[in-house]
Amino acid sequence: MIAIHPPEATKLVPSNAPEHCPGTESEQAGKADACAGCPNQEICATAPKGPDPAITHVTTRMSSVRRKILVLSGKGGVGKSTFTAQLGWALSADPDVQAGIMDIDICGPSMPTMLGIQRETVHASGAGWSPISVTDNLCAISVGCMLASPADAVMWRGPRKNGLVAQFLKDVDWGALDYLLVDTPPGTSDEHLSVVNLLKEAGIDGAVLLTTPQEVALQDVRREIDFCRKVGVRMLGIVENMAGFVCPSCKGESVIFKPTTGGAERLAKETGIELLGRVPLDPRIGKCADYGENFLDEFPDSPASKAFVQIIDRIKQLVDEQ
């Protein structure tokens, strides 16, 4: 049977490297036995060793940011961006709190639409790129606000995406922030590795994992948990989104995405990760996201709003008790 070997999460290996390549960042790079005959041997042997110099810049920039929270999910379309937007709005409801949102989904940025800033563009100043203000104390940056036309496809391979993620982390002039929320693309690939690597020294306060109740989504979340464990990111907990649907006309509750394998509750139990809460599906959430409105302000009575508020309070509590 053919099987792939468990990957080493943070080792950088060029595509044309021999089988036992020690990784370009290793002390052994260019000197190991496996390096003999590799076309990159000389570059590896002469290149400066040690961590990426960008990490130092990121750490300096992030020194004015108190809390850094990642929003992750292996699967797409489970509500990462919606949740990030709600979290941003809820945190900034306190006028003394400064919050920022960084959208590192480069090929499919949703933050501009959800925050209603799709017509804004990012400007550069002497201090770096200025993030776009959503409200007085909530700002955001996204590749969606840097394109000539919103329909433009960003057809970039990994290295270019990594370059932009690094720029977002070191060149954006956030000022002093209480919370920086990072909205990620689906999967466990370039963007995720880059953001985790570059924030290694600045420190990530925790990751929130989003899922929906079906097994296809849970499968991908299990992979994301595996990723977090491999790279050593603290998981704050799991949020189950789209759990149940309340019909607006008859108030009857039905289940659209059936938890065929026990849903997030069982996943949380199996993995020992806290289930932060369950958010029911409310068609008005999607509407608000499409119009860039604050759902919690528009419909505070919705069961979904109540669930959001509880989850957000718990997240605040978790990151502050450290």
């Binding site: 797409g76 499919g108 639409t113 690939s189 499968q219 006309s249 039905s254 659209i256 995405f257």
Partner: protein, 295 residues
Amino acid sequence: MSTTDTPVSRRLAGVKRILVVLAGKGGVGKSSVSAQLALCLHKAGKRVGVLDIDLTGPSVPRMLGLDGNGVHQSSMGWVPVYADGSTARLACMSVGFLLKRREDSVVWRGPKKNAMIRQFLSDVAWGQLDYLIIDTPPGTSDEHLSMMEHLAPVADRMSAIIVTTPQAVALADAAKCLSFTRAVSLPVLGLIENMSGYVCPCCGEVSNVFSTGGGQEMARREGLTFLGSLPVDTELVTLLDAAEGAQADVSVEDQQAEFPLLHRYERTASFKLFHQAIGTLLQAPEAQLGASSGP
């Protein structure tokens, strides 16, 4: 070696049509559309292959009830996993079959993903196929570019289906996806609007959970064929999610059917709609699809 004779072109010589399922956004139903497409084409008597190039979040094995299967090597190459048992007309390949434990993560940067896709395209022994369906990950990045690059010698047999939901966020990504197909000159067969409305099981009221009509509007504006809209079908969600979990309600008749999954799929409301949606695709002679058919 000329540009038209590569390991990929030799391997895919017996494949008549290649359909790429794209979306831009995640979670809009690419994999479920791929699975339904495969089942409908199987039903029409075609030989179908499904290749899942979503390397960090493979969903096709689960949807076709093939979780836990492994891939074996033969003298011909990698043997795909067959969803329909001995009939062997629905072949499937995914990175999910290569993982030792299903919760293992594939934490790969671009170059390794590129190598895996090349291997999938050049090493899998599909044999003769009428359709090869390629299920893609969200976005327009490494996987998509690698796929287009390696399939360049067979580009005349390729076309795309774009899946979206009616929300503005999904439509924005679908527009990016369309720009991608234009940039790489990939013909688009049509657009499918998924999750368009949900029928409340208690009162029958149709709720537009993810809004509605956006897909049709986009197809009109961009001059694309609108293949149809599919409502949220809880029956289908359950069927594709729990290929093994929902055994309890499987009747004896289902178990005796030649291909139980297809048998059960035919009874969902989605089947009729989907069958209609791709009717044009099934009826169109090969030539109309812009194809130079295989050998």
